[in-house]
């Protein structure tokens, strides 16, 4: 595996330091403001709507492996949806093509129902692994949408070409659909076929946004400071290329680092 060169190492430590500083200052009770993310705000409404209609909800955690950040972020959202479902007394159906997610999701959903005092509503059969291929899973999901008459659909995680196969049937059945993905090529399809879409890094921010834990919110603010640093580097790079290729070549060495 590739190793960090000096520049990357400094940048990594700097970003980590900023994030940790913000986490600890948030834990110390500092006020934190984060902007509204419409897609995440509407999760509670979607759960409520399904409950009013007396129909279950469907959660899909993407196509990627358990080790991917997008999937981990999706599980954070799953915890919130399951908790809201348990609070309102509704059923949540979870489908995945990743077998490793079955016990993890089962544990998360069970924990949510137990913590809300509704363990009887949890059914391990609602955590399903219908197929290991994404197109077959899409077909199985369509079947569940029609058979179980699911009223709210949540698609969070990394997606491939089957994103539209998963979401378009939901539009036809009239379900409220919220999606969030870090696969930016799939974002337009979600925007076209879902009611609300959480775009790329907003997905990573989802669990922090939903739990409102100071520790998690602090990390979001730290991440935004990292963005300011990146922005400054972009501006410097733009100036360097405007001045000339010679300046750019030295800037490139300073930022990108040499061969090692």
């Amino acid at each position: 595996m590739d190793h960090a060169n000096t520049q990357i190492l400094i940048a990594t430590f700097a970003v980590i330091a900023i994030i940790l500083y913000k986490i600890f200052s948030a834990r110390a009770g500092k006020n934190i403001y984060i902007r509204r993310i419409a897609g995440l705000n509407e999760i509670d409404e979607a759960v409520g709507r399904a409950t009013e209609m007396g129909q279950p909800m469907l959660f899909h955690p993407g196509m990627l492996d358990f080790t991917q950040i997008g999937t981990l972020a999706a599980l954070g959202v799953l915890g919130h949806v399951a908790k809201m479902g348990a609070k309102m007394g509704n059923r949540l159906i979870f489908v995945t093509q990743i077998p490793a997610l079955v016990p993890v999701a089962e544990d998360i959903i069970r924990q949510a129902y137990v913590s809300e005092g509704r363990p009887e509503l949890f059914n391990s059969e609602d955590v399903r692994f219908p197929a290991a291929a994404s197109d077959q899973l899409a077909l199985a999901s369509i079947d569940i949408m029609h058979r179980e008459k699911t009223a709210s659909h949540f698609f969070f995680g990394g997606y491939d070409y089957t994103s539209l196969l998963l979401t378009e049937p939901g539009q036809h059945t009239g379900a409220i659909q919220i999606a969030g993905t870090d696969a930016y090529f799939q974002v337009p399809f979600f925007i076209a076929s879902c009611d609300y879409t959480v775009i790329c890094e907003e997905l990573y921010a989802a669990s922090a946004y939903l739990t409102r834990e100071p520790t998690m919110l602090g990390s979001l603010i730290g991440q935004d400071y990292g963005k300011i640093v990146v922005l400054i580097i972009i501006i410097l790079g733009t100036l360097a290329i405007t001045i000339g290729p010679d300046t750019l070549s030295y800037f490139d060495l300073f930022i990108g680092g040499p061969y090692k």
């Binding site: 190793h3 990594t12 954070g76 077998p99 490793a100 016990p103 090692k260």
Partner: protein
């Protein structure tokens, strides 16, 4: 409670390993020798020559980079990003200045530093704990064995630039650690199959609507297992063995059933695309109007209606779109670090831990 504490400890230790493996150099820096390989005096010895910087050249579109083949000869033109440290090059800059020498590790795709061999050379003994890393084009290094190194007949051509030193051992265990994920993944398949078993057996037991499809599931699993046994049995000679029929089932299941069914599912996408596009192109808001107009320009740009439409389409696709995607990528990378850090230090809440530990 002990289960959560165990998860915290295991997560922290494994995260620490991967972080250290990334951050710590693969060889001990102060004991590492860096330079070009000039000869192999013994079976376990290398003669490494140091290189002194003499000049540098800015790489532009007009720059011509020629590489001297290994062992010497006529320099051949190569793309500037294809040269690697140790290559002997002749660079003609955009002003016509000619620079020649050995490419140094300090180089980048936009500026190449060159140098000459110095009289300082070092003989390095290659023990079992020594790691040889050969520098490649593009900035990274690959681990190589002593035999894989190119030992030149003379030093007038391109050479191998290596960093050699005692290993820090962290990278040596990387394969074993990542193999652990494969083992976990294999166990997970069993859990997935168990989940399917529970759902379908319960369907049959409780005689739920369309329970007979669950019976078909068990039949399909049986066929799938047999078909899996027949995988790859197409080489000559295998045909007449007793288990030839497993290949025939493999052929029927994978090639004559699953593949056409997969294509059928994929073809559904066309209709969904049409209905999604119809909805998206309704000018409901300012953003929708912008999206509709840009999509219209991009579509018209594909049919060469007029030069300016093609230019506008290309500009939208390659300038505006790239800028937007890069913006997203920067955000995602930083978001990835933040999520990774929260996971590593078990600061994540909600789904994983409902309270601070």
């Amino acid at each position: 409670m002990w289960k959560k504490q165990l998860i915290v400890i295991v997560t922290f230790l494994s995260g620490l390993y991967f972080f250290l493996e990334f951050a710590v150099p693969p060889t001990i820096p102060w004991k590492t020798t860096s330079g070009v390989v000039v000869s192999k005096p013994g079976d376990k010895q290398l003669q490494i020559n140091r290189v002194r910087k003499t000049a540098s050249a800015t790489i532009t579109e007009q720059t011509i980079v020629k590489r001297v083949p290994s062992g010497g000869g006529t320099p051949e033109p190569v793309p500037s990003d294809a040269v690697k440290p140790g290559d002997r090059v002749v660079i003609t800059t955009e002003t016509g200045r000619e620079i020649s020498g050995i490419v140094m590790p300090r180089s980048s795709p936009r500026r190449i530093f060159v140098g000459t061999l110095t009289p300082n050379s070092e003989q390095v003994s290659i023990d079992a704990n020594m790691l040889i890393r050969r520098l490649r084009s593009g900035g990274s290094a690959e681990e190589v064995k002593l035999d894989a190194l190119e030992i030149p007949q003379n030093t007038s051509g391109s050479l191998d630039w290596i960093n050699v030193g005692p290993t820090t051992y962290l990278s040596s265990y990387l394969t074993k650690v990542t193999d652990f994920f494969i083992v976990l993944g294999a166990m997970a398949w069993g859990m997935g199959l168990l989940s399917l078993w529970l759902v379908h057996s319960s369907n049959i037991r409780k005689r739920r609507p369309e329970w007979y499809t669950s019976v078909f599931f068990f039949i399909a699993v049986g066929f799938g297992i047999i078909a899996g046994l027949g995988f790859g049995r197409t080489s000559p000679g295998v045909k007449y063995t007793w288990d030839w029929w497993t290949y025939q089932i493999n052929d029927v299941v994978f090639w004559q059933m699953i593949r056409p069914m997969g294509s059928t599912i994929f073809s559904l996408l066309t209709f969904y695309l049409a209905s999604a596009a119809y909805r998206s192109f309704k000018a409901k808001s300012r953003e929708a109007i912008l999206m509709m107009l840009s999509a219209l320009i991009v579509m018209l740009g594909q049919i060469s209606l007029h030069m300016w439409i093609t230019s506008a389409s290309t500009w939208l696709l390659y300038i505006v779109n790239t800028a937007a995607i890069r913006g997203m990528m920067f955000g995602m990378m930083l978001g990835g670090i933040a999520v990774g850090l929260r996971m590593w230090l078990s600061l994540e809440r909600g789904a994983f831990f409902d309270r601070e530990l």
